[in-house]
Symmetry: C2
Subunit: 344 residues, 2 copies
DNA sequence: CAAGACTATGTAAGCGCTTACATTACTCAG
DNA sequence: CTGAGTAATGTAAGCGCTTACATAGTCTTG
């Protein structure tokens, strides 16, 4: 007769535990555990007895107890600035789907709405085995470094630094191709709208714009600084309409900028692409609904999220961090805002 | 001299524990715990000694141990079908922000990519104190009922049933107002495009369309069944162009449907709203970029997510489930696709 | 100075699950 | 029938943290 344990039914009043299941099924707690973990050394009749007891008692195991015993949380953390715009949503979908395949829970932290980002990240670290962090200026590099000293970390859309691994979509070559496409339409006063200092991705898009100019022996302009928001796009368009900038093409750091600029110019009577070609980045849904359709670059965002989850899992399993960023290819999506004719 | 405990440094080789921090600071583990939990009965000098030890050892507490000791996971679960489209992303942002304010982690499950939804939900239940589930036909009512027997549950955009609490945005009255607006433009062959059996929200939008007709002594048509996707919108538009349907207005179950229909018709030379008015639901970003701007209804999605997180917290705290659905107001957004003139 | 009250800290038990090693049960071969 | 090998199950220790109650230290009052 087994010695009475504190968590057995008599010592507890709410919710079934492994002790009450064992008691109900007439087996030991080890057998209950083996059944629930899918061990093959349990007789079929015994297994059925346990599963029946689980069903009848409505037993929900306490995941925390398991995590403590196996010394793994079996969860990945994901830190994003926010979820506005389809990029982050797609990234999260890819991440969550792959984490699920790897039997890891996903614990999410969105930093833009947090008053104490460091505390949020610190708290997250107590509950997960590894953390993926979006590589953006909104999340300080110091915080990422501090985190890396405590948990395996993968930076998404960032650059490797100080033993911190990174995964990203390729930006520079597709930006070079996109800007080249615009220049090959004969445009000679193309402006880059966006802030290269806001993150590695925008930096690489600007570098691609520069490279396309160099390729053709052309001089490139300084970037027109703007955040990746509708408001900054509208403000820029209004300055363009007021004559503060001159351009026959705009290469915008992302689609949201491009779309707000384009619509503002059109509403003021400007012809796109007749007066000015406009291209973006990300191939958001709206890009294909507006007229003319926006020429842009599609990133494999879903796959990027999945790759990040993969790498976290491998780091937790003991692999050393890779010293180079893993790059996924991007793809030019040519519509009509660049000056190409509609396909009829 | 305290008795040696197994998790102390000598018994463990990786990662600091509360025992190594206590040893390093020269205090008991209770004192370390008190400091980290912010207890006020600790002397300032002692508190500093502990914080210094924590810093020097890079101590990351194991959240699972705390959860087990306090018998709460301090986490909310959220089950959504997916994250495509801004509705879900906005909902999740509201949920996560409020959960953070309530000191709860968020564990996310997206069911569309899962091969065994029941197992995913069961696994989630082992790791959270309560779960919010999106009320959609994609997540079976049986599963929600089963879950409710084990954990506090709130259904988002659903109806209360069997002691399961629900939170939703109001649909029927705004749909009545929207359809009424279209009918007051003189339209007499308005079609509803969407599937009322796909969930309570679409049902209520159709009911509002019916009510608006009744209000004016008009007969309403049967709904044209379509899923909330671009593909179904395009297919419907093509059937309309081929003459299988006749209408002078379309009330679409959501913006994605409305947008794909509208763009397909326009590309085929139809005039919106001249030949046919089109209205949607959700006020997605694209709604304001297309021309004419889409008339639609805005839902307080962010607030809905926050409310769900609030209610989970209250249920965990012992409040009984509410027997009525909590409704948040929606708001008509009139642009020009309905036939209203642009504001100049 | 002694007693009582208050503050600060420590000891020990326990939360619920996992699993190494021990024990029991069953089967097969000689 | 007996012994060896294998399958099935049980016992006990432990994962890392929290906290009730016990103990020690300090201060104030009579």
């Amino acid at each position: 007769m087994a010695k009475q344990h504190p968590a057995s039914p008599e010592a507890r009043s709410a919710g079934a535990t492994i002790y009450s299941v064992a008691d109900h099924a007439g087996v030991s707690i080890a057998t209950v555990s083996r059944v629930l973990q899918g061990a093959t050394v349990v007789a079929e009749a015994t297994r059925q007895k346990v599963l029946t007891a689980v069903e009848e008692l409505g037993y929900v195991p306490t995941g925390a107890a398991r995590s403590l015993a196996v010394r793994h949380h079996e969860a990945h953390g994901l830190v994003l600035p926010e979820l506005s715009g389809p990029y982050y949503a797609e990234l999260l979908m890819g991440f969550e789907a792959r984490a699920a395949e790897l039997a890891q829970s996903v614990v999410l932290v969105l930093t833009n709405s947090r008053t104490d980002m460091a505390a949020a990240v610190r708290q997250l670290a107590t509950r997960v085995d590894a953390i993926a962090v979006f590589g953006s200026a909104a999340i300080p590099a110091d915080l990422v470094r501090l985190l890396r000293a405590k948990k395996p970390v993968v930076v998404i859309a960032g650059e490797p630094q100080d033993g911190i691994e990174a995964v990203a979509a390729e930006n520079l070559e597709s930006a070079r191709e996109l800007a080249g496409h615009v220049l090959d339409h004969g445009r000679r006063r193309a402006l880059f709208v966006g802030d290269p200092d806001s993150g590695p991705d925008i930096r690489n898009r600007y570098d691609g714009y520069l490279a396309a100019h160099r390729d053709r022996g052309l001089d490139a302009a300084e970037p027109v600084l703007a955040r990746l928001s509708e408001a900054d796009g509208t403000a820029f368009a209004q300055r363009l309409l007021a004559g503060e900038h001159e351009a026959d093409a705009l290469m915008c750091a992302n689609d949201e900028l491009a779309l707000s600029i384009m619509t503002t110019l059109q509403d003021a009577g400007r012809d796109v692409p007749g007066d000015i070609a406009i291209v973006g980045w990300d191939d958001v849904m709206t890009a294909r609904y507006v007229r003319p359709g926006l020429t842009t670059v599609r990133q494999p965002v879903h796959e990027l999220g999945a790759l990040a989850a993969d790498r976290l899992h491998e780091l937790v399993g003991g692999e050393p961090p890779r010293t180079y960023a893993q790059m996924l290819p991007t793809r030019l999506v040519v519509r009509t805002s660049c000056g190409c004719l509609p396909v009829t």
